[in-house]
Amino acid sequence: MGDDGPRVRTYLLVYVLLLGLLGATTGLAFLDLGGAGAAAALLIAAMKALLVLLFFMHLRGSPRLVWLFAGVGFYWLAILVSLSLSDLLTRPWFSSVLGSRP
């Protein structure tokens, strides 16, 4: 069994990238990007998460089954969030006042 996982250099590279992204997200937070600020922060967080998943957690090189279960949680979470927000965000859409306007 020769899989000792990624080389030390890879780990260090990933680590430096992670710290870089941390700096970027903190720096960006102090700029006024309007609505894009939240999107940027979440995008960077997703990139960091992906790095951790792929390299530190060895998802790269794992069997498909492991990929499946690594994805399943996020998929179900996406269902929970999207359908819950489909309620919250659309509550003002049907304002019964509209019907009663002349």
Partner: protein, 217 residues
Amino acid sequence: MNASFPPTEPYATLEEQRDSATLGMWVFLSAEVVFFGALLLSFVSYRISYPRDFDVASRQTKVALGTLNTGVLLTSSLFMALAVRAARKGERRGTIGWILGTMSLGFGFLAIKAAEYVLEIQDQLFPGPHFYLPGADPGHARLFFLCYFILTSVHALHVTIGLGLLGVLAVRAAWGSLCREKGHQVEIAGLYWHFVDLVWIFLFPLLYLLGRHPPHG
């Protein structure tokens, strides 16, 4: 495979046992994703409903300490990855060393987090009866800090559990019973540790950074 270290029931081979344990941890982590996700959903939906008050409140979090803590946790993840690597190669001293390194950073994270809590309680930001935050709707600001304290303390609980796991492994590595099984227990614990890091990667921007920029208008 080392004959002196047989697989336990119900497995025929150590390889099978190792694969099962890895899969089991990933299945568990998928449950954890939903667990933290459900909490985050509460936070996000209030953030959407009350963006202005949540901006005001989130500016009260200690962003310097938070950033430092993120760095600490990311570094601990690197150490953990190196511990797994050492365990896989059967390097006992390396394994113990990196595990202890990971643990000390984990304790560091908890210490910094505790310091933040102390500062926040001094600033009357704990959403109890003494809560006080001018400039925001008191109810909504309480909601923010309620979410903040719940999310971070549940996360800290996970860090603590991770530290417990690593502590056990460090002792077992010192006894020498770890490396012969190609370190799969270190790997499983590593998955958990990295996941806790991953959760923080999302908590940090959501709690500390959104709304950090000076308000316009």
